[in-house]
Amino acid sequence: MSHTVLICDDAIFMRTMVGDILTQAGFEIVGEAETGLQAVEKYQQLKPDLVTMDIVMPDMGGIDAVREICKQDPQAKILMCSAMGQQALVVEAIQAGAKDFVVKPFQPSRVLEAVQRVLG
């Protein structure tokens, strides 16, 4: 059975790209969120196996969304999507409960490796 994924990013480009990478690898994209708030709502609703989370989003940033999701589900598996130069924020996200990260620009292999690690 393929794993279900919720993709959270305010840019359609990024959502599409991550979605393509994961779909090609056999994952099932069950939902997308454009804001942190949406991410929290959709997580509760969809209970996906995996969440990819952008850091900078309107209406609650990615880090707060991670904190919120993990408060409700400590087992949540969240992969942070970050740009170079955001290490402090990524560290914060990890502290908040995210399991791993990938750095833009995305390389499919790296994304898949990270996903594998998160799903353990």
Binding site: S82, M84, Q86, Q87, A88, V90, V91, I94, Q95, D100, F101, V102, V103, R110, E113, A114, R117, G120
Partner: protein, 641 residues
Amino acid sequence: MDNAQYAELFLTESREHIAGVNKALLELERDATGPGASAAVASIFRGVHTIKGMGATMGYAIVAELAHELETVLDRIRHGDLAINVAIMDVLFRATDVLEKAVEAAVAGRDGEVVATDLVATLHSFGATAPRRSSGGWTIPAPAGAGMLVRIRLAPDTPLRGVRAFIIIKALGALGEVTNTEPPIEQIQSDGFDTDFAVRLVSASPAAEVEDAIRKAGDVVFVRVSEPQAAPRRSAPVTIETATAPTSAPAVDTRSVVGQARHVRIDVRRLDTLMNLIGELLIARGRLTQLAGELGDLTLEETVTQSSRLIGELRDEITASRMVPVSHVFDRFPRVVRDAARAVGKQIDFVVDGKGIELDRSMLDEIGDSIVHLLRNAVDHGIETPEARTAAGKLPTGRLVLSAARDRSAVVIKVSDDGKGIDRERVLARAKRDGLVDASRNDLTEDELLRLLARPGFSTAEKVTDLSGRGVGVDAVYTRVRALGGAMDIRSVPGQGTTMILRLPLTLAIVRALLVRVADEVYAIPLAHVSETIELESEILRTVKGREVLLARDEVLPLMRLRNLVGLPAYQPPSEIALEHVVVIDLGDRRAGLVIDELTGQEEIVVKQYDAVREGLPFFGGATLLSDGSPSLIVDVSSLL
């Protein structure tokens, strides 16, 4: 935890390792490309590596850093990245010396005193250009702190490696408690490291599980988990900038301390105390035996006899436990000779013989410096320069032999060179000038030669060198050897070489002695130097050139009277038939008769250190307490012969 209790162990082991490193360095220098070279490098590497690990554990920053840099260079040599040449050998030797100093300083609580910045920079220049290899050294020192040491190397292309490291540390946090990191966690998080970092983890998880967790965290190319060690003290701030030099993990090898089972390390002072106690016990035994004899109680005598035997065995065991092979001290001499030879531009083949011969530990420690004196003398004054040797029809490379051999209850140490020999003419001239010998003399006997050379400040060296020739050589050795109850001899043949012979008792403390009486005093003569005793009948007494001599077994021996020596009037026999006795004393192949009033017995005596009175009688080498509690002086045979 207080590390002080480990300091001595650290010091002892480090010294051993440094001795081993020096030995291997010499082997390497002798044959840098031969079959033994890689074994020598490996051996040096192990020694340095162990010192580094121990030093880091103890929190000795300078030791750890220096060893670390040295190790880096050795690693390059080991992998064939760096070829051995004179420059590298010199740096390695120098670094080993400084490392030794740093070890001593650190243990003495002066870790910061040895300044090695230049040397570290030099080492660094040899080591730093090493291409990073997948299995190569680690770039950062081990963090202080409790728990297992976890070393991690990330892939060079790891994105946001600070974050990756953080994830790894977090994963480790799930297995236990991370007590420290290197670099500090803040620096790690902000990418303030290259590819390597290290963590101290207190965890009940097995190493394999820890490693697994780290690998799962991603981007990890190497992990090494070392089992925890005794909690190290927080290390002093590292004062030498070495953060980018590759090195290996300072895994502390404690096996040599506890693993190889059948040995226990004992502070030598404890053995000294035991030796003193057994000495007192021997005195008490003698007293007890005497009293039991007087009482005539058979049961008591039997018990005393049995106790006596047990005490004797105890003495033998304790004496044996203090014996160590001379190699303990001899092993550092090749290095000494090499350095000395280089300093004066001589070629010397140094041979050590009889390394397995055992000697009392204290004796060995005491005599080490004296042997160094003799070796340096041989290098400096004995063996000629290659040109001079060639001109004299000898091989350009001189030969220096240090040997140890057992001779009855003594150990004979010889330092023998094939150099030009002692210049008797010059010694004679100097002695005449100083009025030490009669101006009409035109030759010196070996004994006179020794006596002259052994005079404080007597030197014929043309110039003072670093090595010797300050006139403190032979006399210092002579004094020391005598203080140890030993004797010294010189054999020197012009053009063929010089041999210095040191004869040392096996142990400092206890000797069997013949007790002799002169007037009301009892003196002790070590039995090791007694070959026989004879009654002084008038037939065996002769006078040659106004001196008394003794005819014993077709041999003519010089005769001395102890009464004369101590300034007593001549013996008045109590009756016609009462004869004086002669003790024939010997030392090597020199013999003489010593006339005494009466033989009173034999006893095991405990030699007490004796501060000879200046200008006092020179032929007493110590004092002892006899079994009846009375004090007795010990005759120093070597000064009589």
